[in-house]
Symmetry: C2
Subunit: 581 residues, 2 copies
């Protein structure tokens, strides 16, 4: 393609409201154009990347046996009422009424519609497994759309849904999709991790996020550099310390710690390592009577090591807290501890509470904690001697760098990621709600086992840029670049030689199936180079009169420090050799 | 592709609510599935056709220099308020509020958004001409969705918008698009006509509908079989009769025609040809005073030949009627004619009215018309002798078969069509409303001249089927068939020879770029053939043990009366020879 047949609209400055680098660079490269909050026009340069992303996804989904269809953007509310999500989904689901005042929604996802198709079309076990997917516009009315297309309101998502006859078969479908996702992300040419994620109420281990690695990512990815272990922070297990609890060596002493109410302040004040201090968090659970009215509450003391953070998902799995918990009120704290927060601890309670200790805490000795008296802490505290063993020991905290890997193969590291894909085993959540059954081998109706598999198509663009850019602009991987090669002729409109050589190279690369852009705009070299560096085309060839006289052109990869001189006659072959297959 | 990797879901019977043949066949072939009124899932078989249609459109749009982008489905109301269409568009435009109670619309089309892009991005005459297009989901909340996807509510449309520096340049862009549309429709392999259409207030002759010919079409297409002339019924000119008005030969006589109030009844009663009778239609126009209050009305007598029909668009172009007209009330008719409808005529008025005669009427002599007296008509009436010449003579009627072609190259014929495309010169309608200017060669801002160019992508499917089907099902043209070739092996699961030959043919055709489907479902031959005939795959190869023993397979084109025996070794070449390029 030639630039004159295309539309290039780069900007020197990004708009002031662009917060993150990918947003800024996409705006500057003319890939997107804001239409409203969280709503963007995909300009020609950006749409080319989207089409390449979609193309790779489509090829690999088809290869994996999934079948593409297309479900509508505007969907009748009835199906969403069947699953209860019409009421449960908050204002992020956009609702609309038609001219006859009937309720519709703008689809945020398509479980209901695809399950409706499946319950009508998949009637026999002989038709299973089946995996339907579509690549379609979604709308989620985010309260605070931001980061450009990373958290937009209208976006494109590939969502696939598998239907199986048994949990075992569903697990196989899951594995097939997991493998397809790995091929997809490999082909994108992005650094990513498939990260185990929490499965919530469904249980099991069939949930993975596909995270594109980027320092600016919102998510923490926990992984073991010396093994395959990877999980998100919600799920990553903090194993019990390998070394058992040490014997007490100190006496329990009450110490004045005036105004020191945080673990860090207390440890610093007392000259103790933070790893010797205990963090006391007071939670509460409410019970209801048979009529659903409040019928009392229970107070829990949650103990973490001073340098650790509570993991809400893990706490939510503790027996007794599964139905939901909250932080205790000041009144509840005073009632049980006789003290205000900042000086709380498990020793000398006014009224008994349930004590749950993190695994690390259970292995601590000679530790420091609040004395349940304002401005006082205890040091040299030891389990068994100074207070009873905790009621419950569990994994309650976020892992930290250096924690042992749960697979025993090394220690954990943490990096940042952007979630762009998710594979998830749904079980019968939707098939049950919508009575999606098939006739099994014995002729009896059975609920379909489902899985769902999403990729945020438009989000891929933002994530790829967050991962890979420099001061000059975007650096696209070959596979999803808007153009793979930019030919930059100097004096295209002045020199017949330059024009002929540039046209010939363009035609030769095009004929070889290379997605090539010939910049025939007649821009000055500096501006032309800056444009293609900003846009992030991975390979560039510069042709000039002077070079051609010497039989040479210049090749430069987007990441290369300097240009490489290449014999003009060899340049097409040279460029092809530099392309990623 | 093999059937086992795909999803085939044919039905013996179409649902009761399917009204037209294309709807019935698409439902039966498993191409679409109803989700709600006018809202359909595109099932895998239907989506393949859509993708092929889109592919052809995209290639030809790009070849014509248009640039693809993607504008959102959910659009802020502000832009639609700028052009006034937020209020002017009726309930067919779906309106929605976001969580912050801001107004949005679900796009029925994209003039506003693309004009907003253009006014920001196209700042200099050097950037013009430019043509942006997208292929995107549209929603129009039809009052009565019907005919399946022919008049659905959610549909896919390709809409392109050109921006030019002058009306002359815009006309050139129009011609480019017109030529691209011809290539697109040629490539679809459909019988179609590009039909001149009315340009309304803009004037000029830059409006064409692309009509797919089908007996069941809603639109009348007027064309001249011996020339290139083609226009829609609104526009097609009824030229003045070639022969001048004959001299009077009869005396004017008042005749009793009791209860005969239609031209047909009167002519039959009097034994006159219908072409000798006059149809009198009474119209009225209202005038307003400076405050916009009703300030009187004018009554018009419109005269057509008894067998002709009024053309509202043409009448609306008559001087004095351009601002709008209505049919006169019974009171107005009585006031001017002293008579009730059914016996009205231009002779002997009670109070003067403006008389406008169709061109054919102006050339009539010895004609019959109402006598302005109940149960009486006049015969032998002649212009000039019995009444003054009409105040105005104009083309007021629909053309009929056999009328002379306006280009003088023959006589007109009429066929039925389905409108699937429209190219239209917009002028500055939107650029003016939205102040979309560019700096011209002299550095002065000037309004962009626009054109718009639509193709109903999903509608093409319905139109193609209405045009081409038989008792057994759909007959797709090669270019947009869901699969081009169906390989039907008999005993694929029983015979190693059949399986090997079928697989080999499948692989060879696939490698040659042919979109081939191998039916490996193990269906019985009758059911298998019926499926592919219903689905409408244009080429079929049947392999059987018996045939292969004789070194033969059977080829049958979807329109062929019978199968052709082909040497098994030659079949791939034979099939390729039968494909449309």
């Amino acid at each position: 393609m030639k630039a004159s047949q295309f539309f290039i609209a780069t900007l020197k400055e990004a708009p002031a409201d662009a917060e993150v680098i990918s947003h800024k660079l996409m705006m500057r490269a003319g890939m997107i154009k804001r239409l409203g909050a969280g709503i963007y026009n995909y300009m020609p340069m950006g749409l080319r990347v989207i089409r390449k992303v979609e193309g790779i996804i489509r090829e690999e989904m088809n290869r994996a046996g999934a079948v593409e269809l297309l479900m509508p953007v505007v969907q009748p509310a009835e199906l969403w009422q069947e699953t209860g999500r019409f009421d449960k989904m908050g204002p992020e689901m956009m609702r609309v009424k038609d001219r006859h005042d009937r309720d519709f929604i703008i689809q945020p996802t398509s479980e209901e519609v695809v399950t409706d198709i499946a319950r009508q079309e998949l009637r026999s076990y002989k038709q299973l497994p089946k995996n339907f997917y579509h690549i379609q516009t979604k709308f989620r009315d985010e309260r605070r759309p931001r980061f450009g297309i990373m958290r937009g309101r209208e976006f494109t998502m590939k969502d696939a849904y598998s239907f199986d006859r048994s949990p075992e078969a569903a697990a196989k479908s899951y594995e097939t999709m997991f493998a397809a996702y790995k091929r997809i992300f490999d082909r994108f040419g992005l650094q990513y991790r498939a990260v185990a994620a929490d499965t919530g109420a469904i249980g099991g281990d069939l949930s993975h996020e596909f995270q594109v690695i980027a320092q600016t990512g919102e998510d923490a990815i926990i992984y073991c550099p010396t093994s395959d272990y990877a999980a998100n922070i919600e799920l990553a297990e903090a194993v019990a310390p390998a070394t058992p609890r040490a014997e007490p060596t100190a006496e329990m002493v009450k110490t004045l710690t005036p105004g020191k109410s945080t673990c860090a302040d207390v440890a610093a004040f007392l000259g103790l390592p933070l790893t010797k201090s205990l963090k006391s968090l007071v939670l509460a659970t409410d019970t209801l009577d048979e009529q659903g009215n409040p019928a009392g509450s229970t107070v829990w003391l949650l103990l973490l090591r001073g340098d650790h953070e509570m993991n809400e998902v893990k706490v939510g799995k503790v027996e007794g807290l599964k139905a939901g918990f909250r932080f205790a009120t000041l009144a509840e704290i005073d009632e049980h501890f006789g003290c205000k927060p900042g000086y709380l601890g498990p020793v000398g309670l006014k009224k008994p509470v349930k004590i749950i200790a993190d695994r690390t805490v259970a292995a601590m000795s000679d530790f420091c904690c609040g004395a349940n008296e304002a401005d006082y802490h205890l040091t040299g505290v030891n389990w068994g001697r100074d207070l009873p063993e905790p009621d419950l020991v569990a994994d309650l905290r976020n892992v930290v760098e250096g924690d042992p890997s749960p697979d025993g193969q090394g220690v954990l590291a943490i990096e940042r990621g952007i979630e762009v894909g998710h594979v998830f085993y749904l079980g019968t959540k939707y098939s049950k709600a919508m009575n999606a059954t098939f006739l099994d081998e014995t002729g009896k109706p059975a609920l379909m086992e489902m899985g769902c598999y999403g990729i945020g198509v438009t989000r891929i663009l933002g994530a790829a840029i967050e991962q890979s850019h420099d001061a000059r602009g975007i650096i696209w991987p070959d596979a999803i670049a808007p153009f793979t090669v930019a030919i930059c002729p100097i004096g295209y409109d002045r020199s017949a030689e330059v024009k002929a050589a540039a046209d010939a190279l363009h035609d030769e690369l095009l004929a070889a199936g290379v997605d090539v852009m010939l910049d025939d705009r007649g821009e000055r070299p500096g501006a032309m180079f800056a444009d293609w560096e900003l846009i992030g085309v991975p390979h560039r060839v510069v042709l000039s009169d002077r070079g051609l006289k010497e039989g040479q052109v210049e090749y430069q990869g987007r990441r290369d420090e300097a240009a490489t001189k290449v014999a003009a006659a060899e340049v097409a072959a040279f460029v092809k050799g530099r392309l990623k297959a």
